[in-house]
């Protein structure tokens, strides 16, 4: 009955590989997000989808491609992984896309690029 789930929890891979992270929420929320948290704990938004439509696309390399097959799922595909991509990636959701909405985070995916 986890509200926001992500797979995998850990991902260790070589530079240059392509990998995907999946996220699902069972809260019935319309809006989902991807955040990147670096080693200093800085939390930065990458993308946001509202009802399968991309509404936020921050300055992120185009090696990162999000996809939302339906409003309960938001996946992140990363091509040609680089050392600097090592971080914790959090998926989150909120009821709507408004600025007053509380965000619910998934457990995170710890990505290590070697």
């Amino acid at each position: 009955d986890t509200a926001v789930s992500q797979t995998p929890k850990y991902l260790v891979t070589q530079m240059g590989n392509d990998k995907s992270i999946k996220c699902e929420q069972n809260l019935g929320h319309d809006t989902m997000y991807w955040y990147k948290q670096d080693s200093k704990k800085f939390l930065k938004i990458m993308f946001s989808y509202n009802n399968k439509e991309l509404i936020i696309n921050e300055t992120v390399p185009n090696r990162f491609s999000p996809k939302s097959p339906d409003k309960a799922h938001l996946n992140l595909h990363i091509n040609s992984l680089e050392l600097g991509d090592s971080a914790v990636y959090f998926c989150a959701s909120s009821r709507t896309s408004g600025g007053l909405e509380t965000q619910y985070f998934g457990p995170g995916t710890r990505l290590l690029v070697l």
Binding site: T31, Y33, Y35, K41, F42, L43, K44, I45, S48, N50, I55, I56, F90, S97, G98, G99, L100, T102, Q103, Y104, F105, G106, P107, G108
Partner: protein, 113 residues
Amino acid sequence: GQQVMQIPQYQHVQEGEDFTTYCNSSTTLSNIQWYKQRPGGHPVFLIQLVKSGEVKKQKRLTFQFGEAKKNSSLHITATQTTDVGTYFCAGPGITGGGNKLTFGTGTQLKVEL
């Protein structure tokens, strides 16, 4: 773009001491939210403040929103080891970016026995 800074970045306290983290935004905020992230965990929503000068309490935690709605603080009285974690403030801007939260730089709290 909007920036949200928190000080201090790190804080070590002895159990029983008080702790305060300060949050400052470069733009006026329509509301401020606070989140806590335990070590190895994910951010969890604590509270939201909306009104200018608003003060809210949750047991030993006191949250304040500045009169100008550009700053906020979180004060913990008599810290316990369960308070360990990183505390983030987050807020949207009034003039733009209303559909995203900008998270503060966070304050990592360690509590020693």
